[in-house]
């Protein structure tokens, strides 16, 4: 038993075609490498939330003190209300806006409405917003106030130094 090939006659042309069909590059190493890469990406990837920037300007050298702020400017104070809450107070308004837990979003919306209202009342010169947060206020509430001022259409929003 020498095998079927030696028994049957295969024309040379057909033999060449069959030979070329059987040529196949070894796929195993490539698949190995691809799997290694896939594993690397699967284990090494951590999806990040999309990040953006709120554009602001810093106070001049030495900082602006609360007493230097011109009366016509809109002064927004931020105070902590309990461990996790916040209280926004716009100077000149009787009531502050308080929020904590579930009511944080509505507080932010209320602040936005107030800022829009004050901007609408302003005629002539453009109104600037000065934010003065208390030292124990969480950064997220400072960013929230800044964002609501920008959202309300104010062009000049800055911070006031506490000293």
């Amino acid at each position: 038993m020498e095998g079927d090939e030696s028994v049957h006659y295969v024309p040379p042309r057909q033999r060449r075609v069959r030979a070329s069909r059987q040529v196949q590059p070894p796929l195993t190493p490539m698949i190995d490498v691809v799997f290694q890469l896939l594993l690397f990406f699967l284990l090494g990837t951590s999806f990040r939330e999309q990040e953006g920037q709120l554009l602001a300007s810093l106070p001049e050298k030495g900082g602006i003190t609360a007493s230097e702020v011109i009366v016509q400017e809109l002064n927004l104070e931020i105070h902590a209300a309990g461990a996790m809450g916040v209280r926004y107070y716009v100077r000149g308004e009787n009531m502050g806006i308080e929020g904590s837990g579930e009511s944080l979003k509505s507080a932010a919306n209320e602040l936005h409405q107030l800022l829009v209202e004050r901007r609408r009342k302003q005629t002539g010169t453009e109104l600037s917003v000065f934010i003065s947060p208390a030292p124990d206020v969480r950064w997220e509430y400072v960013v929230e106030a800044f964002n609501q001022a920008v959202r309300a259409g104010y062009k000049k929003v800055g911070f006031v130094g506490g000293e």
Partner: protein, 161 residues
């Protein structure tokens, strides 16, 4: 018996669909992934209502210094007064600066050096990547130090809607 053995030998998996899927996955990861920068530390950024933060890729701020304000609190928060609202470090250019007490001179000189290295232009800005849990008391010295270092622009990192 011989026929059964031949049948088993001929049995092979069709790998083509699997390889197709693997290549699709590879392509997805390669196109979507961005190498993590060492200048950026994972912090829990604030997510304001209807965020007006401008996406990073739409900004052209060639010269900036990134200051990461890292919280001492764990991600799920803490009621421990020793860590609550505290920052554990300011990370600037891969260097850590103490927060308690704040070393104002070191901060000033680092920010000034960064500004000088950035070409000393007016477009140079301070980028604050602050953890949302940290109290404002840890940000004010940073703003003062940047102001003293002659930086007039500031970008506040926040999440985009």
């Amino acid at each position: 018996m011989a026929r059964q053995g031949k049948q088993l030998a001929d049995l092979s998996l069709n790998l083509t669909p699997m390889i197709d899927c693997v290549f699709q996955l590879m392509l997805f990861f390669i196109l979507t992934s961005q190498a993590a920068s060492q200048l950026i530390v994972p912090v829990e950024l604030a997510h304001p209502l209807e965020s007006k933060a401008i996406a990073q890729d739409k900004l052209d701020s060639p010269h900036k210094v990134i200051v990461n304000v890292v919280s001492a609190e764990p991600d799920n928060g803490s009621s421990d007064p020793l860590v609550m609202g505290k920052a554990v470090t300011y990370r600037i250019n891969n260097r850590d600066f103490t927060t308690q007490p704040v070393d104002m001179d070191a901060l000033r000189s680092e920010l000034r050096a960064a500004k000088d290295a950035g070409g000393d232009d007016d477009e140079f800005c301070l980028e604050i990547r602050g953890d949302k849990k940290v109290h404002f008391a840890f940000f004010e010295p940073l703003m003062r130090a940047a102001g003293d270092a002659g930086i007039s622009r500031m970008n506040i990192s926040a999440r985009v809607d």
